[in-house]
Amino acid sequence: MPPESSLAPAQDVIHNIGYRNYTGARLGRRYIRRSLYVQSLRGAYGLGRSAKSKVLPMILFAAMCLPAAIIVAVTVATKANKLLVAYTAYAPYLQAVIGLFLAAQAPQSVSRDLRFKTVPLYFSRPMERFDYVVAKFAALASALFILTAAPLLILYLGALLAKLGFAGQTKGLAEGLVSVALLSLLFAGIGLVIAALTPRRGFGVAAIIAVLTISYGAVSTIQAIALARDTTDVIGWLGLFSPLTLIDGVQTAFLQATSDFPGGHGPGTGAGVVYLLVVLGLIAGSYALLMRRYRKAGL
């Protein structure tokens, strides 16, 4: 006997198939961490978000790369025997762009979760505090690295196109990449700590810009005064008090960079060790502060 179901129901019926249990894979914390990292990194450039939120990061990315393209064009056209800007000098020249990017994207990454109280939704899942903090930190540092390393690659490709020495250019690029990697970690740490203090995005943006510009402005001013008073030995140490001059100190001491300090009085190798330790200490400290910040936020 044919069952009743052989009288097929009309094709346009939508069947409620009922609840289905999930029996597939449940991936562990590594996968969760990587997913959050990728989502946050894409988010820093507005990918996977509204069209409006893509505008600023893309403009800043273009602003970061355009000068490199111009430099390449000039180098090729004038058949110069070296690039007009050293690899290690490029990021400091465009520090305002980097600062704006950090000020816009660090609060985007963490303040939203705090402001809309989304954090408990993360911590009620298998992930731990460590996973959240590491994913967010790594994502912002990677976003800054992409921002700062991309123009260096343009410079490098341009230099090869202009048939500048391969070995010298590769070494310069490597030094530049190490420098911007340190810069990315340091800036990401500082930016995230400030942003995680407040659920208000606007405060975060303002505070990050303030910390970066005021510290840099104060250090540069006092260094200039020191130069004018001929107390040049102080200049090298004053650079310890702002993020950008810290990077300047490290790359002057170890990466053959020319210091932007007044009179070119960058730290020597001995003082450079102190600079490097302070940079690494700040990165580790930012991580520790973030871990502390989220100790209670999970509740």
Binding site: Y31, R49, T118
Partner: protein
């Protein structure tokens, strides 16, 4: 399902939980208590997010102190407060959170579509959450708690802020989570009436202490009574009193309802249900007296009344008619 043994949580100034011991069985369990009774604190401890000061608890056989991550993989949590970013769509948010529960990308998308449909979100799921009504937001919050197909969900005040219709829909949905989805539910509320309709078991805590834990049917059964209201007539100017004496004479247990303040409450008699024949006796008594029967309805003992007697055993009016001996 959940075994809590001597659990305490003390903060510097308050004791949120005080040596709480209770077993929670599979099904829908209501966790009732006033604001600040320790409900949310208990949920945080059960999720392994907050260490207990003393005592222990196991969720799905896993220790909350040492196996928090394993518990959170199998459990869903819907927070009490607003927790949705307004600028993303329900689909985007729930897909992301499904991945945060460890679901691979394709499974996360598929489960999200399924779960949002089950909680009753359709075309609107592609719009930003910021434009949703409170009821829709609550559904999104529920969906993110269910998307990884947990064995157990903690729902913290899911009916908060909903209008009566939304409340009923949410309660029906909670019931379905157990009956249709096979997921056990621990739901908190400070409204007892809601839980009576929804839950299999009710746990009452107050000031961090266990007041009572039992099956909902225990609360409401064996307390059957009839509410009877009659009119007056020329022969019986006080029909209620006449019926009272007539029914008492017939051997039934009769009490005035004692519901002060409600309109007409002074005219309602509560007649103990001795069996099916009670209905006939009331009908006959009313007919004999020649009164008009305004209403005769079955009354179940409300959970609230049980709690009142449990919480304040000395307060006479709260005990009402169900336990005349205790007075």
């Amino acid at each position: 399902m959940i075994a809590i043994d001597g659990l305490s949580k003390r903060f510097p100034k308050v004791t949120a939980l005080d040596r709480l011991t209770v077993d929670i069985t599979p099904g829908v369990t209501g966790l009732v208590g006033a604001n600040g009774a320790g409900k949310s604190t208990l949920i945080k401890i059960l999720l392994g997010l907050s260490p207990a000061t003393e005592g222990s608890a196991r969720v799905l056989g896993l220790d909350v102190a040492t196996q928090g991550a394993a518990i959170r993989e199998r459990v869903g949590y819907m927070p009490e407060h607003d927790c949705l970013p307004p600028d993303v769509s329900a689909t985007e948010l729930v897909v992301h959170l499904a991945r945060m529960s460890g679901l691979p990308p394709a499974a996360a998308r598929e489960r999200t579509a399924d779960t949002l449909r089950h909680v009753g979100l359709y075309e609107e799921r592609y719009r930003p959450v910021g434009g949703y009504s409170t009821g829709m937001k609550q559904r999104v919050k529920l969906a993110q708690a269910l998307v990884h197909d947990p064995q157990l969900v903690f729902l913290d005040e899911p009916t908060n802020g909903l209008d009566p219709v939304g409340r009923d829909e949410m309660l029906a949905l909670i019931r379905r989570i157990h009956t249709d989805f096979g997921i056990s539910v621990l739901v908190t509320s400070h409204l007892l009436g809601e839980l009576e309709r929804t839950c299999d078991q009710v746990v009452v805590i107050d000031g961090g202490k266990l007041l009572r834990s039992s099956a909902t049917s225990d609360f409401t059964q064996a307390t059957g009574s009839l509410a009877v209201e009659v009119t007056d007539s020329d022969t019986h100017p006080d029909g209620t009193a006449a019926l009272h004496s007539a029914l008492t004479a017939a051997g039934l247990m009769v009490q005035p309802s004692g519901e002060h303040g409600a309109p007409g409450s002074g005219r309602v008699l509560l007649v103990g249900l001795a069996g099916e024949e009670t209905y006939d006796m009331v009908r006959d008594a009313v007919a004999t007296l020649g009164l008009g029967l305004v209403r005769m309805e079955q009354r179940r003992h409300r959970i609230a009344e049980v709690f009142q007697t449990t919480a304040v055993p000395t307060a006479g009016p709260a005990q009402k008619w169900d336990s005349p001996d205790a007075a």
